[in-house]
């Protein structure tokens, strides 16, 4: 038996001949992405002009005519640089000739642009090392866009993700333990890790690693998880031995995260774990068992840990202590209330109380409250709609993926972003207890933007439909016909 005929793994159903074709890279136009990006640019420019006019009108005296410069974009340089970066990412993909998704980049680019508008509108001394909030956010956005483009263009094979799933898992756990040992405490949570001048929150990166590991493990053992079962008396339970490594990974992640008091990340990891298990097996029993475990764990944590109890109590009745414990939630609810349906307009909301914004962490934990006030119900519905678009694209990529690993990876990556957005959105709206995770692509912060950029880049890479199929045979047929005709003549 010769092993020479073994074709490449990773791309299903393609013969070896493809290796030669892969070398040739031809630019390929992406007009759909281009026009959507143009629309993003127009929308953000209008938003910026609206913001500028509001700010100028507020500065001008009551009843006076608007100064001449009122209709320029607000801090247009920042916006211009950002839009240029999006265009560059688009051009990079055009030149690389990938046949990947054309909706993801504009949708995510719009969210990033709204983030930039919000950050340039907030007081600049809230945070930021490089000359203010907006400038720092712009630098991180540029890094994120560049990272997305690089991952989307460079990643052509999923072998390095697929083969080393246990290595990835080990790296993730190591990262968490490192944070626990060497991390710095910020706002009562030990989440931040300093490496030289850089500081970041590893749990953001960990969510990507967790999805990669779960996708690798589940795709390998899918058939076993579906077919086998452990019998305990009359009850058919899932095959426990095959769940052990996964449950261990989950327990380690969850345990460390709970010790670090990062409830949002714990909730996110658990949700993604359950969703991927269900996608891989289509067995409701897993979901039911998972939810029961979740309820039991929540009850236990509520009674064991003071900080969990505090969070839940604040959630149930923030008005019990509206000046200290429930302060942020109460102020966020007021902000949503002030916004109403149409919003107060960019630059018109967020009244300053005693020289400070009512919500101290508005740029990190409550960007949705700020947007809800200034853009209203209509505005945040559109923003939540953009997250739905990201989820839909991810599931669509998963549905047309060539094998189980790629399908699970695409579904997991898009859902991790979507679930995170909805956890923090629901937290801001007092639908679930507030947890300190970021709103993907919108919140201020480098590690969140970088991790989500990697997610988008991987989704783009996974959505690539490979080398173009050979052109339809009409031309050759025509040439044949001509030859035959010539022969007949």
């Amino acid at each position: 038996m010769s092993a020479a005929a073994r074709p490449m793994r990773g791309r299903a159903g393609t013969p070896d001949a493809r290796a030669g074709v892969l070398g040739v890279i031809r630019p390929r136009t992406r007009w759909r992405e281009f026009w959507l990006l143009v629309l993003v640019g127009i929308t953000l420019t209008i938003g910026s002009v609206s913001l500028n006019a509001t700010v100028v009108a507020a500065d001008a005296e009551q009843g006076a005519a608007l100064p001449a410069g009122a209709l320029a974009p607000y801090r247009g340089g920042l916006l211009l640089v950002y839009l240029g970066a999006l265009l560059a990412a688009h051009l990079a993909q055009v030149l690389a000739g990938r046949r990947s998704d054309q909706v993801l980049l504009p949708a995510v680019g719009m969210l990033g642009g709204i983030s930039l508008l919000l950050m340039s509108r907030l007081p600049q001394d809230l945070a930021g090392q490089f000359g203010g909030l907006a400038r720092t956010q712009l630098i991180w956005l540029l890094i994120a866009v560049a990272l997305t483009a690089v991952v989307a263009v460079v990643v052509r094979s999923d072998r390095w993700l697929r083969l080393y799933k246990y290595t990835w898992a080990a790296a993730g756990v190591g990262l968490l333990l490192l944070t626990f040992v060497a991390g710095r405490e910020v706002n009562g949570q030990r989440l931040t890790l300093d490496i030289g001048p850089l500081s970041g929150q590893p749990s953001e990166l960990l969510k990507v690693i967790l999805v990669v590991f779960l996708a690798g493990y589940l795709s390998e053992n899918r058939a076993l998880l579906v077919e086998q079962s452990t019998r305990v008396g009359p009850i058919r339970l899932p095959p426990l031995p095959y769940l052990a490594p996964m449950a261990a990974m989950w327990a380690i992640a969850l345990g460390v995260v709970v010790v670090q008091r990062d409830l949002g990340a714990a909730l996110l990891f658990f949700a993604v774990f359950l969703v991927l298990l269900y996608i891989a097996t289509a067995r409701w029993s897993y979901v039911v068992i998972g939810l029961v475990l979740f309820l039991a764990g929540s009850w236990l944590m509520y009674n064991l840990f003071g900080h969990v109890k505090d969070r839940v109590d604040i959630w149930i009745d923030p008005f019990a202590d509206p000046r200290v414990a429930g302060y942020q939630i109460v102020q966020a609810l007021y902000a949503f209330g002030r916004g109403g349906i149409l919003g107060t307009g960019l630059g018109n909301g967020l009244p300053v109380v005693a020289g400070r914004l009512p919500i101290p962490l508005i740029h990190a934990d409550f960007p949705l409250a700020a947007l809800g006030e200034e853009l209203g119900l209509i505005g945040i519905l559109a923003i939540l709609g953009l997250y739905l678009v990201v989820i839909e694209r991810g599931l669509r990529i998963a549905a047309s993926a060539a094998d189980d690993f790629r399908a699970l990876l695409a579904a997991g990556l898009s859902l991790v972003v979507g679930v995170q957005a909805f956890i923090i959105a629901a937290g801001n709206l007092k639908l679930v207890p507030l947890t300190g995770i970021t709103l993907p692509f919108v919140s201020y912060g480098g590690s969140s933007l970088v991790a989500n950029a990697i997610v988008v880049g991987l989704l783009l890479a996974l959505s690539d439909r490979g080398v173009e199929p050979p052109p339809p045979p009409q031309r050759t047929a025509g040439r044949f016909r001509r030859l035959i005709d010539r022969g007949a003549a």
């Binding site: 159903g13 929308t43 609206s50 509001t54 077919e227 149409l342 307009g345 559109a382 678009v389």
Partner: protein, 145 residues
């Protein structure tokens, strides 16, 4: 409402309007994409890639589309004819039930192997698994869509 606040109000609404225009454009692309996907003819259920075939029939490297019930063996009446001297005339059958492929050994002389382990009766077959019949090795792949 004076002229300035009216124009500010209109500018605000224009931003929201364009936000929704963008969302509409995106949703149109998505709907078109889904329509196009559903118009495609009923996709095949899976495919077998011939990894190694010393006998030359089926040829190594060929990709065979699978029916919901696909029989393999040396007999010419099989869906996939495996012309190998170690294959039985009715060697094995692949069936697609629910969402999973199963392989059943039809009491062949030399047995059917999945990833190197012999199949006893019926066994589930995952995408990427390697099936061996005689000296012929085949890999089950997901259908391309």
């Amino acid at each position: 409402m004076d002229g300035i606040s009216l124009s500010l109000w209109l500018l605000r609404l224009l931003f929201l309007l364009f936000l929704y225009l963008f969302l509409l454009a995106v949703v149109r692309v998505l709907v078109r994409d889904l329509r196009a996907a559903s118009r495609e003819p009923e996709a095949e259920l899976g495919r077998l890639q011939v990894v190694a075939s010393p006998g030359g029939e089926p040829r190594a490297g060929t990709v065979l589309a699978l029916d919901a019930i696909t029989t393999l063996g040396r007999d010419v009446n099989n869906t996939i004819v495996v012309d190998d001297q170690f294959a039985s005339s009715d060697h094995a059958v692949l069936t697609f039930r629910g969402r999973t492929w199963y392989v059943e050994d039809l009491e062949s002389t030399n047995g059917t192997y999945v990833n190197g382990t012999p199949v006893d009766g019926v066994s589930p077959l995952g995408y990427g698994d390697e099936l061996q019949i005689g000296q012929v090795r085949l890999r089950l792949d997901r259908a391309r869509r």
